[in-house]
Structure formats: C-alpha cells, structure tokens
C-alpha cells in the first residue's frame, strides 16, 4: 500500500502540470502541447488512484469503511475533482461538447488545485489523526449497527482547517507542480515551454521545501501515535516518527536517498543549461521519500490511521488488515506487478520515442 501511495504521489505530476497550464503555456499551441503531453499520462494517475482504493479495500477494509464512510466530504470532493478531470481531456477540443473549451480547462485546474491540496491534507491525517470512533460490537445493536462513526460534523473537511495538515497539502501541491514542470522539460520539444518550465521548477521548489520541512519538523519531533506491541494499546509518544526513522535504518536510508535524488533532479535542472531528464531523478526520489514516510506512519508499532477522539479506536496494521488468506491471495496477485511495469515501460517507450512538438499537433491524429 505504501508503494502504491508513493507511486500515486509521483504521478500527481499530471495534476501539478495542469495547474501550470496558463503559466507555462501562453499561446494556444503551447497549451495544446501541454495538454497533450499530460493527456497521455492522466489515465495512469487515475488508474493508480483507483487501484490504491481497491487495494486499500482489500488490504485494510477497516480503513476503507472508517475513512471513506466518515470523512465523507473530503473524499467526495476529491472524487468530484477527478471526475471532472476524466472527461476534460477527451471532451475539451471536441465539437458539440456543450460547455466549451475554457470550461474543460477550468475542470483541469479544479482537479489540479483541489485534488492536490485535499489529497495532501487527507494523507497528513495519517500522522495528525482524525476524529472517529470504532466499535465492532456495534454490529450487534439492532437499531444502529454502524461500526465506524465520525465524531466531527464536518465529516473530513475539518482536516483542511489544521495548519499541520495544510502544510502537507501545500507541500504536495508545490511538489506536483515541480514534477509537472520537470515533465514538460522532458517531454515537450519547445524553447518557450522549456524556459518557463525551468522558472516554475525554481519558483515551486522554494515553497515546497518551506512547507514540507515545516511539516516534517512538526511530525518528527512532535507527539506520535505509538502502539504497545503486547497489549495493542495506543498511546502518545514524543518524537515517535523520528524514533521510527532511527529504529528502521533501512527506511531512513530510503528516505535520505529519496530526498537527495529529488534535490539532484531539481537543482541540476535549474543550474544546468540543457539538462532535461530531471523528472527521472526527482520522480524516483519522490517515490522513495514518500514510501519511507508512509512506512514510518504504520510500521514499528505505530497507529497508521489514528483517532484523536478515542485513541483506542486508532487503526493499526494488526487491527484493520484483511485475513491472512486474503493477504496471501493479494500477494499472489502482486506477482503480476513486474509484468505490468514491464508492459507499461515498453508501451511508454514505444509512443514516446520523440518529444511532443508543434508539428505533431498539426498532423491531425488523435488529439486532446
């Protein structure tokens, strides 16, 4: 699940790129090139989000029922943002599309801004906690048998009013924009887009570092949600997430490697005149760093989806995961993943042999 989550955060470069539509693309042709560059990848982000949901359902059904059923509004708004995206690419340039090209571009912006900040905010609650109560015995209550109940009437929107959560929301937003700009540099053969994307890498890296480091400082050195391995009791522990990093050196190495790769990709792009492959370094770095963050949220006797209303309702890997048999089935299914990755890489290479340019856009083939 952590790896899927990390891949999803990397693939949010599509959303980040969408938010740069008007700041990097100044002419119709530039905007068309940007949308076509992103349009060939949007389904991967979408598919990863759907698979992330399905895999969470299969692996941690109690999370699925508690978070989705409780934080109703935040998830519904995120979903709506993604519904708008799914039609925007295909409908934008088509005649008879009812709403006009601009509206579909606004859909892409809504998906970019709203989707990114809210997803980041939702992920932050893995460290800061949410307001819910879980009682499995409720199923025997004939009048009101619901197991998981949200304790805040805002049903998830309250997460967006927490400064710590918002810091991660903004960090994800700026990171996605950095990755989006790096992707343009790598995939579009256009001098103006190259120059403006480079500027955007710089402009967004600064606020990304500010928000991400602030969030990291707060969670690493603040209180975390620890689990007593013998009694499964959840309790607050100062510096818990920092301890997790130290006590799991392999995760620490992955995290540091991720940060180094991300910064290398970004800085080399900014300071080197013709360097275009920054997305690969920054992408791998993002996956590694986010993977490590997800791991310290759940491993080493930690409650990965903590409840601030009732600590003992917090979700841990032990109390919320599927049965060993189902996890075994899922492990067998996971054996397919290398094949999936191989055909994705093969297909991507086949259609991305040359960068997108204005000539291709004028050829009249299938276009977004």
């Amino acid at each position: 699940m952590s790896l899927l989550g990390a891949l999803l955060v990397f693939l949010l470069f599509v959303q980040g790129g969408q938010t740069l539509l008007y700041s990097v693309g100044k002419t119709d042709m530039e905007q068309t090139m940007i949308i076509n560059a992103l349009g060939r990848k949007w389904e991967f982000t979408f598919t990863t989000l759907v698979t992330f949901g399905g895999a969470f359902f299969a692996s941690f059904p109690l999370f699925y029922s508690t978070s989705f059923g409780g934080a109703y509004w935040v998830w519904m708004i995120i979903l709506l943002c993604f519904v708008l995206q799914a039609v925007a690419y295909e409908f934008r340039m088509k005649k008879g599309n009812l709403l006009g090209k601009k509206v579909y571009e606004i859909f892409l912006l809504v998906n970019g801004f709203g989707g990114l900040i809210l997803l980041g905010t939702a992920v932050a609650t893995f460290f800061t906690g949410s307001e819910f109560v879980v009682s499995k015995l409720n199923l025997t209550n004939l009048m009101e048998p619901t197991i998981s109940k949200w304790a805040n009437p805002l049903h998830g929107l309250e997460a967006a009013f927490s400064v710590t959560n918002l810091l991660l929301g903004l960090a994800v937003f700026f990171l996605a924009r950095v990755l989006g700009a790096l992707y343009f540099i790598n995939s579009i053969d256009d001098v103006n887009i190259f120059a403006r994307s480079k500027t955007q890498v710089l402009y967004n890296t600064v606020p990304f570092l500010a928000t991400f480091l602030s969030f990291l400082g707060i969670i690493l050195f603040g209180e975390g949600f620890a689990v007593n391995p013998d009694t499964q009791e959840v309790f607050m522990q100062s510096g818990k997430y920092f301890s997790n990093l130290i006590e799991m050196p392999a995760v620490l190495v992955v995290f540091l490697l991720g940060v180094v790769l991300l910064l290398f990709g970004v800085l080399k792009t900014i300071f080197s005149k013709n360097f275009r492959r920054g997305i690969w370094f920054a992408g791998v770095g993002t996956v590694a760093a986010v993977l490590a963050l997800f791991l310290i949220a759940g491993w080493n006797n930690t409650a990965y989806y903590p409840s601030t209303t009732d600590l003992q309702s917090s979700l841990t890997i032990t109390n919320s995961s599927s049965s060993p048999f189902t996890l075994e089935v899922m492990s067998m299914v996971s054996l397919l993943i290398p094949f999936v990755l191989i055909y994705i890489i093969y297909a991507w290479r086949a259609i991305n042999k040359s960068d997108i340019n204005s000539e291709e856009m004028m050829q009249g083939e299938h276009q977004y």
Partner: protein
C-alpha cells in the same frame, strides 16, 4: 438509544442506483464497441486495405469519447462502497475488496496503457503492435468487467467465506469458490455478451443513419456486416446464459424469481407468464387482491426453466414468507424452508450470540464463548434477517422487477430477429429499405433500455439484501447525515446529466462529421 434515520438508507440507495445507472450507460458500449473495432483492425491488418483503417479509426474516436465518461462515473462507484456503505465495507471487505484490487492491477493498467498506444501509436508503432494494443485494450475492459461482476455475483450468492466472530467480519476461505461460482460465471458471460449486443446495435444504428443520408456507404455496409454477425452471436450467447442465470436465481434467490414472475402463490408445474398486466390494487403480498388483470401463461414452463422439471414446485412470495415446504438450499442441500418470522427470530439469535461471544471473550469466559459461537454458527445463515424490522421489507418491488424482466426478454427476442433480418437484408440487398434503416436507428435506445432493465431485475430483485440473507441495506449504510447524501445525490445527478448531454452532443457531431479521408 440512537436509531437509524431510514431516509438515509433510501437516499444512499438512490445515490448508488444513480451512479450505477449512469455508469452503465457507458460501459456496455465500451465493451461492445471495443471488440467490434478490434475485429475491424484485424481485417485491416490482414488485408492491408486502408478503408478498414479509416473505418477502425472512426469507431475508435466514438469509443474514446464514451470511454472517458465511463471512467469518470466508475471511480465514484468504487469509492461509494466506502463512503455510503461503510459497514458493508468492513463486514465483507475481506472478500469483496480482493476482486476490486485485482481489477485495478490486472485490468485497469492494461486498459490505460494500451489505450494510449491505440490512440497515439498509429504512426509510432508497427501495425502488429498497434493491433495487439487494440485487442489488449479490449481485453483490459473485459477483465475489468469480470472482476467487478465476480464481486457483484458474490453479493447475490455469498460463497467461499466464513464469519469470524473475533474480527466481526466475513473472511475469504476459498478464492476459487468466489471467482468461479456458477452465479459469477453466468453473470459475467451474460453481462458482457449483452454489452456486445449494445455495441452491435450502436454500430448498425449509426451506419443506418449514413445509409439514410446516402453518405459513407462503404463504411456503413462494411460496419453493418461485422456488427450484425457479432450481434447475432452475442444474442445467442445471451439467450443461453439468460436461461442459466434465471436457473441460478431459482436455486439461490427464490424471492427474486417470484418477483420476476409476479408469483404470489407457488405451485407444482408452474406456468411462465409470457405477457401480463399486474393488478395495481395489489399492494402487499398479504392482501387478497388478484395479482393480474390479464396474463398469457405458458403451462409448466416456469417449473421447467427454474428446476429443469416440468412438475417441480416453484414457491411464490406467500410460500417463501410462510415457509414450511421442502426445498433445496443454495448449495443443493435438502431443507425445510423456514418462515420469514422464523428466519427473523433466527437472525436475532445469531446477533445476540455474537454479542454474548464478544462479552464472554472479553471476560475470559471461554466455555460460554464457545457455546455462543456454536449458537452463532447454527443461526448464521439467517444473520441478516435479525436486522429486519418489518417483514414486508423482505419482498422486493414486484411491479418494477416483473415489468423490467419482461421488457428485457421481449427486447432480447426482438434483437435476435433484428440481427438475423439485418444479415439476410445485407445478403439480399434490402438494406436500403427506409423503414429498416429507421428501425435500426431506433434500436440504439432500445438496446440501452434492455441492458438497464437487466440490472434493475438483478439489483431491485434482491432487495433488501446487500449480501443475500447476511446483510440488509439497513445494516450496511454509513453513519452520515441524510442531508449530506442528498446534496451529493443532486450534485452527481446534475453533473452526470450535463456530462451525458455533452457526450451525446460530441458523438452526434463526430457522426455528422464522419470519418474523413
């Protein structure tokens, strides 16, 4: 004591129905059209005739428009299991989640990878690789249907699982019993091939419009030839699997079968109502009103179809509610059927036994816990009945199921005749007949209506259950404000309607524009 707001259940059901209905407006065309365009591209690959490439690309453009909105409506459905049916998600997530995850890994990535090659790879990859990509997109879409239909079939016939009182959920015990249950196999083949019919009707309808307008006649004739054969094959398979699906319903969901037939009082050698008008005055199974104002019945046919025996007893709604007759359970074991009251009582005993088990376990009273567990296991097959407040809720909406079933069957037979006639007309040069071309255009909405009616039978017919006999909608719903669900219901209704109008608008423009040269 806190109690459930009953309107929450209705609104949650309405929202799920709304998203499912909208989603199912787009999926059948994706499934059907993808096979047709794959066949067309295969012909192009084999013959090298550029006309087939042009035809393939034209249908591919329409496929792309339809595909996008299918994806958009699909994501909501997946997450609604969590957002609106949170208790359900925990209670059966151990079983239900797996097919959804497999769908993502196995089907969605295949679809999303190769659809990009299919659209953008014409001048970038070899002909063979492109053809493989088109077929793999089709395969991905079909595999996606497979896993979600496996999940749906499991809700109709929960097999391959065991209830674990410690975790208070059902856990998977046999993956293959879930994936290959007879209900899943019938449902998958029936649903996918019925979608092929929709695809075939769409291609014939659009082609007929070109013939009426005397445009793109080459494209139209060639497309009709492919679609008519494909549609006929699909209709034959749909007929066979329709029969096996109804047979499974008879064994596993007798109440649904009774609703499909408007059968209140069962009998041996029961007849099949071919056409019937239900008496609107009949509001409950318990009243004395006549069921039908008029009906045409085929003697003994229902017994024959339901149990492969012309004199078999087919229970009606009253029989199922009163119980006391001999039958076989869903696994073929002979049983004396309990009445609704007895099953409700049995369900309450099961729920109480679960509570006692948990309490005893917490207090360390192992022997009492063991006894409670035995009671729970003995009554678990009726667990969901314990949540039923009014036994009238056990009867689904009979008129809706009855008429939907008949519309589906009658239109299904129409399609059989239609595809045969189109094939004959194509061979004998009768395709220019105006009435036939107009009828062909009219078959497009008819195909959608038929397809939707099938789902109404399947889903309304199994009410009040989200999982047959184990969990009713009442016990499955999330603990949220009714007003929240009302707002999202209207949000989705407005958004999906706008997007549907946009989709139809784009389709019409693309069709008017034609494939170009």
């Amino acid at each position: 004591m806190e109690t459930m707001d009953y309107s929450l259940i209705d609104w949650s059901r309405a929202q799920f129905a709304l998203t499912a209905i909208y989603h199912w407006l787009f999926v059948p065309l994706t499934l059907g059209l993808s096979v047709i365009m794959s066949i067309m591209e295969s012909i192009y690959y084999k013959t090298g005739d550029p006309e087939w490439k042009r035809i393939t690309k034209f249908w591919m453009t329409l496929f792309g428009v339809n595909f996008a909105i299918g994806v958009a409506t699909g994501i909501i459905l997946e997450f609604e299991f969590g957002t609106n049916w949170s208790n359900y998600s925990w209670f059966v997530g151990d079983i239900f989640g797996a097919p959804l995850a497999i769908e993502g890994v196995m089907a969605f990535f295949m679809e999303s990878t190769f659809i990009a090659v299919m659209f953008f790879g014409w001048n970038k990859v070899s002909k063979g690789f492109h053809l493989a990509s088109t077929w793999l997109t089709t395969l991905g879409a079909t595999l996606s249907a497979l896993w979600i239909l496996v999940a749906n079939a499991w809700m109709q016939f929960p097999d391959g699982m065991k209830f674990n009182p410690d975790t208070v959920r059902n856990e998977m015990a046999d993956f293959w019993a879930v994936a290959l249950s007879p209900v899943a196999v019938s449902k998958f083949i029936h649903t996918v091939t019925s979608s092929w019919m929709v695809g075939a009707a769409f291609v014939i309808g659009v082609s007929a419009w070109y013939l009426l307008k005397k445009r793109e006649q080459q494209l139209a004739y060639k497309s009709i030839r492919i679609a008519a054969v494909f549609g006929l094959v699909a209709t034959i398979i749909v007929s066979v699997t329709g029969d096996s699906s109804a047979y499974e319903v008879a064994q596993k969901q007798p109440m649904k079968l009774a609703a499909m037939e408007g059968l209140y009082n069962g009998s041996t050698g029961a007849g099949l109502v071919g056409i019937g008008i239900l008496n609107p005055a009949k509001e409950s199974y318990a009243d004395k009103e006549e069921t039908f104002l008029a009906k045409f019945e085929i003697p003994k046919m229902l017994s024959m179809l339901a149990y492969r025996d012309p004199i078999a007893f087919v229970p009606g709604i009253n029989d199922i509610m009163k119980g006391g007759y001999d039958a076989k359970d869903a696994w073929g074991k002979p049983v004396r059927v309990l009445s609704a009251d007895e099953r409700i009582m049995s369900g309450k005993i099961a729920i109480q036994a679960l509570a006692s088990y948990k309490t005893a376990k917490a207090a360390g009273q192992d022997s009492f816990a063991l006894k409670s567990k035995e009671v729970l296991e003995a009554h678990y097959s009726n667990f969901g009945y314990g949540f039923i407040q009014d036994k009238n809720d056990l009867v689904p909406n009979v008129p809706l199921v009855f008429y939907s079933f008949r519309i589906m069957v009658v239109f299904g037979l129409f399609f059989l005749a239609f595809f045969i006639y189109i094939l004959v007309a194509g061979k004998r040069g009768w395709l220019e007949q105006k009435w036939l071309l107009k009828l062909s255009i009219a078959t497009i909405p008819i195909a959608y209506i038929t397809s939707q009616c099938g789902w109404i039978v399947a889903e309304v017919g199994r009410q009040p259950w989200v999982i047959q006999d184990i969990m009713p909608t009442f016990a499955a719903v999330s603990h949220i404000d009714t007003s929240s669900v009302q707002i999202t219901f209207f949000l989705f209704a407005i958004l999906f309607t706008i997007l549907l109008i946009a989709e139809i608008g784009i389709m019409m423009k693309q069709i008017k524009k034609g494939p170009g040269h």
